[in-house]
Each structure stands twice: as C-alpha cells, then as structure tokens.
C-alpha cells in the first residue's frame, strides 16, 4: 500500500506532508510525556520490532501469504503517540533506504498508514475496553475489532486523498470499492493476527500492553489468612481518566484539523488543477478532458467559494456530530459505571 511518487499530485502531497508533520510533532510531545527520556531507545526498539514483524509471513492458503501492517498492534501495545512515531519512522526509513514509497508521497503514506490506522485503532480499542467487561478476553476482542476497522479506515483515507489529488481520473466509486473491498479482507487477517499477538503478550506481560493498563486487578494482601484489598486503589481511576481526556482532546483536535483542513483543500485543489489545465491550452484536448464528466473534473469549477466553505464546514460539522454522539455514549457509560462502583467506594471511605 506504499504510495509511490507521482500517484498523488504535488499540492495534495504537500498538504498531506503538513498534516503528517503536525501529527508527528504532537506525538513527539505525547511520547515524551509517556516515556520521558526512555523515548528514544524504547520507541526505536518498538519501531525495529514493527519493521521485523512486517516481514513475518502468515500463510493464507495455496502458497499465498500475508503480513502484518502493524499500526493497530503498535497503538495497542505502546500507545497512540509512540505508535504513530514508530510506524512513521518505519515508513521514513523504508522510503529513504529501501525506496519503498516515494519521498514526496511520504506525507500521504504517513497520514494514511501511520496516523489513520493508529488513531482509529486506538480510539476503537479504548472505547471497546471501556464498554466490555474487564478481563483478558475483552482485550483480545477489542484489539480484534480495532485492527479490523483500522485497515479499511486507512483505505478510506487513501481514497479521500486520491479523490482530492489523484493524477488519474478513475472514478472515485471504483477506487473506493476496490480499495475498501480489498482492505476489508486484509483487515480480517490483520485483526486475527493482531488479536492473537496482543493475547500472547497480555498472557505473559500484561503490564507491557499500553491499552490494558487500567485493567490490572487490585492488589490483595493476605492479612491473617484472608485476602484484603490493599489500600492504594484510589489513584488508579484518576490516572485513567486523565489519559482518557488526553486521548479525547487529541482525537478531537486531529479530526477537526483533518476534516476542516483537508476538506477545505479538497474543494480548493481541483480548482487549481482545472485552472492549470485551462491555462495550459484551451485547445481541443483540454476541453475534452474538462468536459468528460468525471467526478474529479466536475469538482471545483462551478462555484469555488461555496464549495470550499461547504466542504470545510461539512467536515467540521461531521466531526462535531460524531464527537458529541461518541462522548454522549461515553458519558452515559461512565455514569453507569460510577453508579455501579460507588457503593463499594462509600463503604470503603466509611
């Protein structure tokens, strides 16, 4: 899925580069907060792990085999910030060293494969872990669903970028069907492998799984032959809530930036393309090209100002609605959970 040079036009590649750079900067700060000065060696080793595990072949049938993409796995194992960093570094090195994915398409590749997969996977994962009953099995189930959704999400983002700045006018419907169709299949494989891998890690070192940090059992002490709760259970939920809010805010900002900025660009750019095409020659070829009725050609010419505004607004409103709905669900769930847990807390404090 590495996008080569020339597949996406220059302005959109640059815009994706800006988005990628911003997200990497945010994750650098986030990772430093999570890992302090351990960031470099740990994130580096995890990046090396992702790099290696992408070479691990999973035979499917009759000689074909697939491999892990790793975004969801990284997000669940080491957290969203470090995950974004690790996958981005892997992509950077693949681009510079192995010529896998074009240098100008680096922004597109990072936005698509590092940021989208990681963020989507992590949000889905945290949401499910909160909803599902606590336990190892729900971690496995949550990572399955997270990985399953993360791959088609990346395909959708790719289709979106392609719709804005693709250099050929294959109809967007066809691209979307092909990309999402294929990637749902890939996503199933990714989901199975990710769930099994996370399950294997949780079984041995549950403390290493970032996504399952809040799930450890309260410490029990054996006092005079019977088990008693250790007294330090209070700080854990506070920490969990803090990280939850952090994730929420970052997710909100990222999606707002993506939605607003990208869709603003979405309607602004084909206009530029069209204009260039018209500047280049008002001869027969260009006119045919402009009038052949492809969705790309029809995007931006008619009323640019309106389209820009409405595009950006639609994106922001969409994100807003999603966020309100999502946090409403979370809020209800949290209230229910605190209502469930409050009696025990009262007895404890009393």
């Amino acid at each position: 899925m590495h996008v080569p040079d020339g597949f996406i036009n220059a302005p959109v590649s640059a815009a994706a580069g800006v988005v990628a750079a911003g997200a990497v900067a945010v994750s650098l700060r986030g990772a430093r907060r999570e890992l302090d000065e351990r960031t470099a060696p740990l994130a580096g080793l995890v990046a090396a792990f992702i790099f290696a595990v992408q070479m691990l072949n999973f035979p499917v049938a009759a000689g074909t085999s697939g491999h892990l993409l790793g975004g969801a796995l990284a997000a669940i194992l080491v957290g969203p910030y470090t995950g974004v960093l690790c996958v981005s570094v892997v992509l950077l090195m693949q681009g510079v060293l192995f010529a896998d994915g074009g240098l100008t398409a680096l922004g597109v590749n990072i936005t698509d494969m590092a940021i989208t997969t990681t963020v989507v996977a992590y949000l889905v994962f945290r949401g499910l872990v909160k909803v599902l009953p606590r336990g190892r099995r729900s971690v496995t189930v949550a990572s399955f669903v997270a990985a399953l959704l993360s791959v088609p999400a990346a395909a959708v983002v790719f289709t979106l970028i392609y719709a804005i700045g693709g250099t050929t006018d294959v109809s967007i419907g066809k691209v979307a069907t092909a990309m999402v169709g294929v990637h749902v299949l890939i996503g199933i494989g990714e989901a199975v492998i990710t769930a099994l891998t996370v399950g294997a890690v949780v079984a041995v070192r549950p403390d290493l799984v970032y996504g399952a940090r809040g799930l450890h059992r309260p410490l029990k002490l054996r006092v005079a032959g019977e088990l008693v709760d250790a007294p330090d259970t209070a700080p854990a939920p506070v920490a969990a809530r803090g990280s939850h809010r952090k994730v929420w805010i970052t997710g909100l900002v990222t999606s707002l930036v993506l939605a607003g900025f990208v869709s603003f660009y979405a309607s602004a750019n084909p206009d530029g393309l069209e204009k260039v095409a018209q500047d280049k020659g008002i001869d027969s070829k260009t006119e045919k090209h402009a009038s052949d009725g492809s969705p790309l050609a029809g995007y931006g010419v008619k009323d640019v100002g309106d389209a820009r505004l409405s595009g950006g607004l639609a994106g922001v409103i969409g994100v807003g609605v999603t966020v309100v709905a999502g946090s409403g669900i979370f809020w209800v769930l949290r209230r229910r959970r605190t209502a469930d847990t409050s009696p025990s807390q009262i007895t404890e404090t009393v």
Partner: protein, 253 residues
C-alpha cells in the same frame, strides 16, 4: 558490533558522489523528486531527460546499471496497478490491439510509471552511495527533530538484531517440526510475534539502562558534525537545478 554497519543497499566506493556530505545529497534527491512530480505528464521527453540525468549521476557514483535495475524491482506491485489503469479509467477510449483502452487511463499509467520509477531510482542512488550513519546525520542536519532521528537511529541499529532474533525463533520452530502452511498455524506465529515484542521491549529497557549508566540524559552527544562547503552544495544541487530547467521547459513548450 565491530564490523562495518553498512546496510545491504549500500555500495562501498570513493566516487565524488560518495564523498558529498549526506545532507546535501538528501536535499538534492528530495528537490529532484519534487521537480519530477510537478512536471506535466504530456512532456514525455522531459522524463527521458530526467532519466539521462540520473544515469549521469549513477555513472559519476560508479553504480553499475545492473545493480540499479535490480533495485528498481521494488515497485513491481505498483506497475501491476498502473497496467490496470487504462482498463478501468473513464473518458475517451482508443483501440489498441483490439482492446478498448481509456486515453486518460493510459496517461495516468504513464504518469505513475514514469514518476514512480524516477523517484525509486533517485532513492536507490541515494541509499547506495550513503552510509546509514551518514544518512541519519544528514537528516539531523536538515533539522529533523533530534528525538525522531534518535528513534530512527535506534531502529536502524537494532533492526538487524531484532530481525535476527526473529530468524532464530523461526529456526527454533522449524527444528521442532513446525511448518506454517495455513491459517490454522497463525496462533503459533502470533505467539512468536508477541514473544518478539516482549523481547524487543525488554531489550529497549536494558539499552536505556546501559545508556543511563554511561551518562545519557536525553540527548545524544554529537561527535562528528558534518558540514558542507558552498562548492559541495552547488555540486549536489546541480541535479535538481538541471531537472528544474527541464521541468520549466516542459511547462513552457
């Protein structure tokens, strides 16, 4: 660890291209690729000139053509995609050898093939004339965040170690009679991946402790700072400048 840490793509040599400071080479390749991408696809001769430019660089770097061509094979998946394009794209159609192909699709396929190949060739030339450590130093000189460069350097440094660890696990599995042949073996492979993650993470913790015990406090010491003279810069930027001239001609003609 005492042996040279050259990666497999690096070709040792002492050509003028090898001797250039890494950040000038990185900047040159990056600018070149940008210029190539922004060239109009109708100017076919421009892409031929770009290829000639790259061939000149390869000649100056004494990189044999066979080596370069073999490395170009990495883009085969996208070649397959490009071949499909004329069949699925829309618009005016033309008959070639009895098949109805889209004109726009043909242009698109040509666009991706030409630009993608040139981009890959430029990257391959960069990788085959620049050592890994130099490459990282160059990235740092180009103002990539130091933390990102550190992460990348750890990834490169331990990439081989982790890959070898994975290979040893594979040998261990096979020596116990395991042979992965289908979906039913995914459990075993995924457990290996999980074990590999735990080993990598724990190795990271050990590496960090070893670094701390040697005085690491968040940033790596800069031992050899690379700098480039004006002559070296202008020598390196000859490639993108020549490409820019071609590109401008492509837009004007």
């Amino acid at each position: 660890m005492g042996a040279g840490h050259a990666h497999k793509l690096y070709r040792h040599g002492h050509s003028p291209v090898h001797g250039l400071p890494p950040h000038t080479k990185l900047a040159a390749v990056f600018c070149f690729v940008i210029v190539v991408v922004s060239t109009p696809r109708e100017a076919m001769w421009a892409f031929a000139l770009y290829a000639v430019l790259l061939a000149a660089v390869a000649y100056a770097a004494r990189v044999p053509a066979g080596f370069l061509l073999k490395r170009l094979l990495i883009e085969i998946p996208f070649v397959a995609f490009a071949v499909l394009m004329p069949f699925v794209a829309q618009g005016e159609r033309v008959d070639v050898l009895g098949m109805s192909l889209s004109v726009n699709g043909l242009w698109g396929a040509w666009n991706v093939l030409a630009k993608g190949t040139l981009g890959v060739a430029a990257s391959v030339l960069l990788a085959s004339t620049t050592e890994l450590r130099e490459l990282l130093l160059g990235l740092q000189r180009l103002r990539l965040p130091p933390l990102l460069v550190q992460i990348a350097s750890f990834m490169i440094r331990y990439g081989d170690v982790i890959t070898d660890e994975m290979r040893r696990m594979k040998i261990a599995r096979e020596s116990r009679g395991f042979e992965a042949s289908g979906v039913k073996h995914w459990g075993v492979l995924a457990k290996s991946a999980g074990a590999l993650f735990i080993r990598s993470y724990e190795r990271g913790e050990r590496v960090h402790l070893a670094m701390v015990s040697r005085g690491y406090a968040g940033s790596m010491p800069v031992i050899d700072d690379v700098s480039a003279s004006r002559a070296q810069w202008s020598y390196a930027l000859t490639l993108p400048c020549a490409a820019l001239v071609v590109c401008l001609l492509g837009w004007l003609l």
